[in-house]
Amino acid sequence: MTSILQALFDGLASGAIYGIIALGLSLQFGVMKIINFAHGSFLMVAMYLTFWATSLLGLHLLAAIPLVVAVLYLVGWGTQRWLIEPVYRKEATREPISVLIFTTGLWIFLDNLFLVLAGPDYRTPAGDWANGVFVLGDLIFTYPQVAGLVVSVLVTLLLVLFMRYTRLGRAIRATGQDREAASVLGIDSAAVYRTSFAIGLAILGVAGALLLAIFPVDPFIGDLFGVRAFIIVVLGGIGSIGGALAGGLMVGLIESLGAQFLPITYSEALIFAIFLAVLYFRPQGLFGVERA
């Protein structure tokens, strides 16, 4: 029983972080209808930035988050403005498949760039904070797990509130629902795209810092988590913020609870099989709303 409870908690804790990894992707996907295959690589960049903030600047991992978020926001804005926008504009009328190809290139480029910059070794954050634990009876909660769970839920809530109650948030949703109609109402869709791409990466900054506390970083970490983020987005329903968190929690639980019954190495295959089943039977996602 204890082991099941522990697995449940472990699953929720890592699942919450998966959820906010997927959050930014879902936002970009939902608003711009583009698929950003470089998402995992940007996560890797966020993790390295966190690592350098803790090791070179001597910051506490949690204190590094605002800094990483700020840098990623700027990187996101610049990427959208100078790299994706020129490609996107040419294909705006159709499904932007060139953006997909372009970000695939960016993905491999970033991975190899960091292979040169940071070397192939695994890195863990400096400081002992990540090793701290709470003990409650037979259950063990590590500091990073608790922080990950709390911060992820908080970030998701904040984003929901932002999208619902601020002018900018409503502009973003309007553009996602109908670009033309939003333009007619005076919303500058290009500016909205830049902002939403930047916000997507900023959230990824939080995710990268939290993930680094439980998972060492190497230049190719993005392959694992980037692909997983897509699965979560599709599971949760594209563009649905709550769905991304729910999808993340689900993947976390499949991973940790599945390991109780199956060899742990199979959990990856299980996640992908469920993904294919959802894609086949419910392409709008488990929590998504069918759209015309």
């Binding site: 294909e91 372009f102 290139g105 040169v116 897509f230």
Partner: protein, 305 residues
């Protein structure tokens, strides 16, 4: 016109004599790998280029080819030449199994689904320790000079085999581009609904193209296994391989006859020139390549409109 007619035999003769130009085996090995990538990109082109279905799961077929011939050789002593055909058949079946659900999806969703299918296969192979060697992979038993068993100590042997493969793939692509079958595929790429309205059974022709592409890719997998004499799930089923195959074809120009070959030659030149940092340099080109591509596509659409 006469010059163009001469181009093909001249190119073929040049390719046959090319190894004479290399003193060291290292250069030849780079050329062999580049030609293998050219072959894979040409195989991918059938479904990813001509039919316009962006598959990011071709490593699945490559891996099936590599593992089938290697296991048949290790356990039954069957020569990899025949194992290669068995792998191609298996990959064709896999393409149907993967294609039936995935072809219901379009564009990016199709790309994601094929990628997921390849990952599932990789995990299954990693978990089958007895038969397939698990995550460590498999060695191909060393026979030294045994051309009947698809092995030779001389790199020249592999060079001519891969050259033959590239020639075959070029012929297949040319046939696809010029035949009724190929026109159907192009019609599906340009507008599936319109093609269906004119009586093209889109699902059937997409499946046929996928099977052909998968079988050819599997043959490349067997070649790789016999050339490297070692295979592992990460190497032959990995996401990177799928992406690389697609990227090479796209850089060169997808849906064209010579594009995939050009993409691989670019890769070759970059590797020779820049060595360790070659990949970054290559992708710099990939990025600009896809931008150029989209520019071209926009131009074509403008002209069509």
């Amino acid at each position: 016109m006469a010059a163009r007619a001469l181009l093909l035999p001249l190119g073929a003769a040049g390719a046959l004599l090319l190894p004479l130009a290399f003193g060291n085996p290292y250069a030849l090995s780079v050329v062999i790998l580049a030609l293998l990538y050219a072959y894979l990109a040409l195989s991918w082109n059938l479904i990813g280029g001509i039919t316009g279905q962006l598959s990011l799961g071709h490593a699945a077929y490559f891996g099936i080819g590599a593992y089938t011939s290697t296991v048949l050789f290790a356990d039954l002593g069957l020569t990899p030449w025949l194992g290669m055909l068995a792998g191609a058949v298996l990959a064709g079946i896999a393409a149907v199994v993967i294609g039936l659900p995935c072809f219901r999806l379009r564009g990016a969703y199709y790309a994601l689904a094929t990628l997921a299918a390849a990952v599932i296969l990789k995990v299954v192979v990693e978990n089958s320790n007895e038969l397939l060697g698990g995550p460590r992979g498999l060695d191909v038993r060393l026979l030294h000079d045994a051309p009947l068993y698809f092995q030779h100590t001389s790199k020249l042997f592999y060079y001519y085999v891969v050259l033959l493969l590239v020639g075959g793939a070029l012929a297949a692509n040319r046939w696809c581009l010029r035949s009724r079958f190929g026109y159907y595929l192009t019609a599906i790429r340009n507008d599936q609904e319109a093609a269906a309205a004119l009586g093209v059974d889109a699902r059937r022709y997409k499946l046929l193209a996928a099977v052909l592409s998968a079988a050819m890719t599997a043959i490349g997998g067997t070649f790789y296994a016999q050339y490297a004499l070692f295979i592992s799930p990460e190497k032959v089923f990995g996401v990177h391989l799928s992406v690389q195959i697609a990227v090479i074809c796209i850089i060169g120009g997808r849906g064209t006859l010579w594009g995939p070959l050009l993409g691989a030659l670019l890769l070759l030149m970059v590797v020779m020139r820049f060595e360790p940092r070659g990949v970054i340099a290559l992708l710099g080109r990939a990025l600009s390549g896809s931008r150029r591509l989209s520019g071209k596509a926009a131009k074509v659409r403008r002209e069509a409109a």
